[in-house]
Structure formats: C-alpha cells, structure tokens
Symmetry: C2
C-alpha cells in the first residue's frame, strides 16, 4: 500500500472516549474518501532513500543487573577458578609452552593462571576495532557503544521455503547469505549460516567463504573447524584485500568456542592461533548450557564464563599482543526434566547482562545473544523466546550479535521464515538504541499548540513534516482490519514471512565484484579441492 | 513428565566440542537408561509447594532512557501545556469550579493550570498503597519497587477455545476471571477482562464485579462507564469488606482514561470523583495512539502524556487529598500507511521508559505496558510484539501492568490461548526482576571445584541441592526433540496453550466465600437490576 497521509486525514475523527475499554471501536478504520490532488502530493513525497548505516551506535545507557560489589565477587571467583582449579589446554603442546613462559603453573594439560595475570595480558587487546568489508561502506566498528548484527551460525538443518525441515545444502547457504545481504538491519554476513552437508566436510569451508565474498559485500566470519581451514580463509581474504592488508587489519571475525567447563581444545586453539597471529579478530566464547556445563546458578555461570573467556583472550594476546578479541558468552539454561536446552528464559538473560558488564570492565568488545529459541517452527514460542533474548542483547550492550536472525530449534535449524521475521525485529533495535530525540522537532511543542485539546494530529504541519520518518514500519506485522486480514487469507506471521523471503530471493542481485578477484578465488578453491581427496572429517 | 535428575545424569556425556557450530549434535538427547532406586528418589523429591507471592518486588535497577536534562525538558513542556494550552474538563461544572477554587485560570471548559500547581497538588498522593483483596494473602502493594500484573481489559470480542472469533459473553468473562485466578504469576483479577455483550450495558457491570468477587479472591477493578456504576461497585465492595473499611481503604483500582489530546470527559470525571472521594485508587491514563492523538515523536508524546496525567491526578487530589492515584500511560504508535495502531514497536517502548521515569519523579505509582499486540491470532507477530512490550514494562519499572495477559488484535479480542501463553511469560518476569543471587549457594564455587574441567554438573551435589528451584520452567514451551514433537502431532505454541486453557478451566475450583456475603451480593444485584429497565447505553 502506498503511504498516504491524506488517507489518514480522511479516516481521522475527533478522538471519542469509549468509557470502559481501551481497545474499542474508536480504532475501527473508516472507508477512504476521495481527495483532490492526492496523487500529485503522493508522488512529491516519494520516500527518500535511507542512507546505509553499517552498524548501530547506541545513545541510551546499558541495563546493568550487577552492583559494583557483585561484579567484584564474580571477578574474584573467576580468578580463583583460573588459579586454583585451572583451565585445560588439550592436545596442544605449544599452547602449554606459551602459558609456561607467561608465568602460569602448568600441570599436565591443566594451566593454573596466577591471580591477575590473565587480566593483565588482556590489557593489550583493543577496546574497539574495525572489521573491514570488501565494500568499505559496510565495514563495521566492533566495541564500545556499537552493536553489529550477524546471522544464525551452525545449523545442520534448514526449514525451507516450503515449510519442511531437511538437511542444509550449499544452495541454502547461499540463500541465507543473500538474505543477510538484502536485510538493511543486518550488518554482517556471518559465518556458517547453515552447514552445507551436501559438500565434503574438509572442503566445504572454501565454498562457504566464497559465498560470503561473492554474494555479499558485508563483513564475514572465517572457518574454525581446522587450523588449516583458518589459513585457507586468510588466503582467500588476501585475494580480496591484499596480502599485506590482511596481515595487520581485521577482515575476518571468527568464532572460537570453549569446551565448557574449563577446556580449550586443539582444534579451536589451532584456529585461534592462526587468526590472532594475523591480527584477525576472534570471539572467545564459552558455550554453556547452564546446569550441564556450568552450575545451575547465574552467579556460578558468570564466574565460570569469565574465567574461561579470560583464559582464551589472554592466550590470544600471548599469540599476538593487540590482536582483536571479543569476549563471547553463549548461555542457555536446560530443562531440569529432560536436559534439553531452553531459550528465552530469564536466567540466560541475567547471565548476558552480567557478562556484558564484566566485558566492559575488561575493556574488550562483547558478543552474546541473538534471536535464540527452542521452538520447532516460527510460532509464538519462537517469537517470545527470540524477543526475550534479543531485547536483553541490545539493552545489555552486546557489541557483536551472532544468531541475530534465522535461528530455530535450539540452533539445529536455519529457518527462512524466521530469518526475515527476525531481521524485521532487528530494524526496531536501531530506533530503540537511538533513544529519545530531544531536538525542537522532537519536542513537537508547535504541534501540540497547533492541534490543541480534542482535535487530532494527523494533518498538522509537524506530522506532515515528519511523515517519512515517523514510527518503525514492520515488513511482517499485519495491522490491517480483521476483515481485510480475513479477505487476504488469514495468513499468520510465518506465512507472510515465507512470502517475503521468496520475494527477496527472486529479486536479489549480487553486488559487483572485480572479475579478476572472482577468478582468482575460483582458481584458488579449485586448486585446493584438487589437492586432496574428499573426506567427512 | 516427572522431573528426574537421574534421567539427566543418564543422558549426560562429557561435553565435546563440535568445532564450528553452536547448535549441533552435542545436544541431541540420548535414550534413557534404567536406574535402580529411581522411583524412590523421585518420590522423595516431590516438589515443594511454592509459597504464594502476591506481587513482585524488584531487586534490579530500572532501565532509564532519559537524562536528567531530558527529564527537565519534558517536565517544562508539560507545564507549558498545562498553563498555556490548557486541558478541557468537559460537561462537568463541578470540576471547573473545583479548579477555579484551586487557583486555575478557567476559560469556558478549558482549564489553564499555573506552572507548578499540578505538581504541588499531586504531592499529597501516596507513593505506594495497598489494594486489599478479600483474601488478605492476595492484597497487593502498588508503587515503589513493586510490580503487579493484571489481565487484559476491554475487548468486545474473544477468540475462543475452538479458535474462532466472536462477541464476548459473561461466560467468557467468568472464564478469564478463573484463568487469572489460577495463574500463579497473575496478581490481580483485573476489570473488564472482556466486554460481556450478551448483557445490557447498564447492568452488566454488576455481573462483572460479582464475577471478580465470586470466582477469584484476588484484588479487582471497579466499573467506570458511569458515575452511578462506580457507586454500585463500591456498594458491592462494602458487602465484602464492610462499609467503614471501604470508606478509607483501597479495595478497588479503577481505570480513568483521558480523551487525548488534552480532554477529560464527564463520564470519566464522574467515576473518578466517586472513587477518589472514597479513597479508592484510580489509574489516570492518557490513552494515546501517537501520531493521531499526540505528536508523531516520543518527546512530544511524553510531554502531552505527562500534562494530561498531571491534570487528572491533581484533580483527584482536589477531590480527596491523599487518594491513591496511579500515573497511567497507554501509548501505541500508528501505521503511517493505514492509521491502524501498531504495537511492540520501539517508539511506544521509549514512551514507556520515559513516563516511568517521570512518574518516579512525581512520586506516584506508574501503570503502563502489558502484553500488547496487533496480531489477529496468537502467532509469532503476537508474541514478538507482546514481548517487546512486556520486557520494557518490567525493566522500566511499571508498578501496575494492565493487559498483562490475553490481549490480541489491538485490544479488540481477549484470547484464551494468548492468555495462558502470556501468563507463562509473566512467570519469568519475577526471576528477571529478582536479579542475580550472590549468596554462597548462588556463587556455586563448590560445584565448580567439585566438577572441574571437562566433566558435567548434572549430578553434582550443588545441582542436586538446587534441582527444585533451578531455572524457569515454561508451561507452554516445547523443548523436546524434533522427533518427539513430531510424534506428538507437531503442535505449535498456540495449540498447546489452548489445551492448557481447557485443562485449567476443567480443573478450576472456586475459592471459598462466606455464604452470607454471597447471598447479600446476589440480592443487591437482583434489586438493582429490577429497579430500572435494560438499556444498551
């Protein structure tokens, strides 16, 4: 429907009280009257193109749940874990040697880090850094007051446009990259937007990285499933950005997960070392299902998360002081009945708020949150749980938001419908984080004076002047009358979202790429793939 | 499913990293092994009864979006509206006389309130007050750090247990009262939980008030659709609480809506006067669809809301200094395409946060929020929008939350399914508002020491000791495996909620009531109904 303030004015009537209720007939829409010259005005008000905003800079405070005293308790407990209990660095003799040299007490594979050492090492990590995109307008600043949204990461399944659930393919992968590229509120192309299980495990990372580069121009994440694959990611980045640039400037942000409780394994450490030594950003994330991989309490989970993250981030600084690291926290609770992970519950939100505070005190960017849910389908459960994760994410001050769109079924499924529904939600978060406009125009006293008691604001000069920018406009929500909704087929939000996803993919056009670069990437992949046999390890 | 930690332990395996993903197979559930003595332990751990908690007392801070300077700008603008633009008090000569005597400049029906006068008058209003329930254990404290949840208010339609949409009846009304009574997280029985359109307008308030008293023992709201009906509410309250008690103690909280912009009408003023003079609580609420009934900006809507609410609250204090008043704000934005109200968008959340701050500075309790949505059905749109309203509600520090459960389709529909889905969400909010437990048990350092790197927490002593209270447990969310969900019929959240609503109503048992009181109430209603003919005005 074309926006038309004249229609609003036609519909307007003096607001009349309905007495007892707040949802009554006063809001039933009236039929549209004719208005002369409307078409001309409509054309004149053609919506201006929104300037591309590559990330959000918040103007509202963060929401903090821990007092100064609470923070100090958690930090002291984390130091106790590091020193007395220790963290395992498994199957990586080099890592153990590095820790020994740094002054840790290494017993077998267990590294006991003296109080204060990890925090001291982390001091060399930058508080904010730029991750460069191949389109410089899409480079993102990560840390401080910024928020960057990235898509779902990791699911082996997709829920497709036909609504069915099946294994993901590289075609799905490309589709999610395209949807992320097309979503104005999505700042980042992400990493494993779904797991392309139709490709061999030992080669699929090439096609994944290529898809991010070719089908998007937003920043992307690197492969972490093998140290060698991290190097491949960097080789491909060098083709795009130049070898010298990649050696010093973050062009990838990659996900390094702990094996909680208190274990870092050689796969992750290998990728971490390769990225950090090239000054590439890593997200050091204890991945915790609280109750199974950490205590059943928020404060216990906070201390353990902090200890694990500090050990990983300090290690990255030992590999290359100044390498960008992001303090990551992925925390869900579990069902005490079944052991299944649960999402959108209050305890993980409290962990998120607390971790965000702890990260700020460490002076490093923070990653958490997203649009997490346990639901099998994009229904009310999915939406409640996602909103209950996303709002704490933005209010708590998360800088890098993985899983910001598309996550379903506890991360087992990437959903097309959910992706566009979530992306719609992400659009709101900018308005939220920008806070209240207190300019003279924002105060709108002229409008209140012009309209006065008992009249309406639809046609007043201030409303006309602010028409284009007034109020967030959802691409998914149906706010039409019941009768119109019936006439349009009683479609629920998921159905509408599926239609929008199809439309977006149909209309998708790839961003331009230097043909020489593209050719070099394709050639690199072909050579790599030919060098060793397919394998699913 | 019976909770059983043994099952969890059986299922547990050492957490193994999956490398690249965060949603992978590590969380697939394993089959259950047999465990000796399990039944005995299960019985021994029968869940203890939760003590009834009649309202929430927050332990986390409020989330504030306005700076001191911003608050002062809004407050100055509100005083300008009160003094220069004025507020209409329509068709109520007594109200105009009261204002004139108080020092306002009354021109026709427009009351110009000198700067500072309204705020000075509001100083006599209590910062917190107790609304008494007929069961004293369910009396609620409203104001300060408390949050009280009350059901949806006002819809003429219901979406029934068969999923269809139809006009509401008194039977529906009773059902929603019963559901609110049964919901542990619902603190209040509310008011017009739906509009019983099968009863005559001029008599239905009697059956509504009676239903609240008879089918619940939680506090309730009074009728406001006519000053006379407010008096009937008080007469019935006197039968329950005693005449003397009702003259001085709040036993009702009633909704007084402004006709924004800047109009108070005689219906609302009549009810307000009758309640305030009996020291009964009123919620003074500018009901605003921003863009139509206020400017299209947040700051403009804030100033107007504050001015309207201050005029109403000051008037209540003129009727009886010290009468409890609640600063109310109902703000939605509108679609600039169609004029339809929209919910769950960021602008109304910003209005909510701002108004909550303004109310705290006035020193009065605050009402706003709820589980608002524009969706026609309890789908993802309904849930996103509701969560996007409810979380700001609790984080912003709302004291009295109307529409906390059951609201659908912009308040035109009370939904059974949505009611139980929302009530489930409300349960989470207590945990959220209680914040992080920093006791020794909460810190859980013993658990971390006991378990150590690479093991799991499922069977450790700390987990066993905290099993019953660990983690919020949803009554709606399905966190089972995909296969189990398939086997159970692929039910979405709304379908499961419908089943739960049916079950609750089937199992409902009315709270006890003194038969003499019940008889007197029935007699009062019969006498009233016989005294004048039915009418739908």
């Amino acid at each position: 429907m074309t926006q038309d303030i004249d229609d609003l004015i036609d519909m307007a009537e003096p607001a009349a009280g309905d007495g007892g209720g707040e949802g009554g007939e006063r809001r039933e829409r009236r039929g549209r009257g004719a208005a002369s010259g409307r078409e001309a005005r409509r054309a004149a008000r053609a919506r201006p193109k929104t300037a591309y905003a590559p990330y959000i800079t918040r103007r509202v405070p963060t929401f903090d749940v821990l007092s100064q005293e609470g923070l100090e308790i958690i930090e002291a407990n984390a130091e106790t874990i590091l020193e007395e209990i220790g963290i395992d660095f498994r199957d990586d003799a080099e890592a153990l040697a590095i820790w020994r040299d740094a002054g840790a007490d290494v017993r077998g594979e267990r590294v006991h880090i003296p109080r204060g050492l990890a925090r001291k090492l982390i001091a060399t990590a930058p508080a904010t850094f730029t991750q460069h995109a191949r389109n410089p307008e899409r480079s993102v600043e990560i840390g401080g007051k910024t928020t960057v949204f990235a898509p779902v990461y990791g699911p082996p399944f997709v829920r497709g446009l036909d609504g069915g659930r099946r294994y993901a393919t590289i075609e799905d992968f490309r589709n999610f990259v395209k949807l992320a590229y097309l979503a104005p509120a999505m700042h980042h192309s992400g990493g494993t937007v779904c797991e392309p299980v139709d490709l061999p495990v030992n080669k699929r990372h090439l096609d994944m990285v290529y898809a991010h580069i070719r089908y998007s121009d937003k920043p992307f994440m690197g492969s972490v499933t093998h140290p060698e694959r991290a190097l491949d990611t960097l080789e491909m980045a060098k083709i795009v950005f130049g070898a010298e640039f990649v050696q010093d400037n973050p062009v990838t942000t990659s996900l390094i997960n702990a094996n909680s409780p208190m274990v870092w394994d050689s796969t992750m450490l290998g990728a971490l070392k390769n990225y950090a030594r090239s000054n590439q950003a890593t997200i050091i994330t204890p991945f915790i299902l609280a109750g199974a991989m950490s205590p059943v309490t928020v404060a216990g989970t906070l201390a353990q998360t902090l200890a694990e993250a500090m050990a990983g981030m300090a290690f990255a600084q030992l590999c290359r002081p100044g390498a960008p690291v992001i303090f990551g926290s992925f925390a869900s609770s579990i069902s005490m009945q079944s052991g299944a992970p649960t999402f959108g519950t209050p305890e993980p939100a409290l962990v998120l708020y607390g971790c965000a505070q702890l990260a700020r005190r460490l002076g490093v960017p923070f990653r958490s949150g997203g649009s997490l849910c346990g639901s099998k389908v994009p229904d009310a459960q999915a939406a409640y749980e996602s909103a209950n994760t996303l709002l704490p994410t933005v209010l708590g001050g998360v800088n890098f938001v993985l899983h910001a769109a598309g996550w379903l079924e506890g991360g087992l499924v990437s959903s097309y419908e959910k992706f566009v529904m979530d992306a719609d939600q992400l659009g709101m978060m900018r308005t939220m984080l920008e806070g209240v406009d207190l300019s003279e125009n924002g105060q709108a006293m002229d409008a209140i004076r012009e309209v006065g008691p008992g009249a309406h604001f639809l046609g007043c000069a201030h409303t006309q002047a602010n028409f284009e920018t007034a109020f967030f406009r959802s691409s998914i929500a149906d706010n039409n009358t019941y009768e119109q909704w019936l006439a349009e087929g009683e479609r629920d939000a998921a159905t509408r979202a599926g239609g929008l996803a199809k439309k977006l993919l149909d209309e998708y056009e790839a961003p331009a790429i230097d043909p020489g670069v593209d050719e070099a990437l394709v050639e690199f992949m072909a050579k790599k793939k030919a060098a060793f046999p397919d394998s699913n390890i």
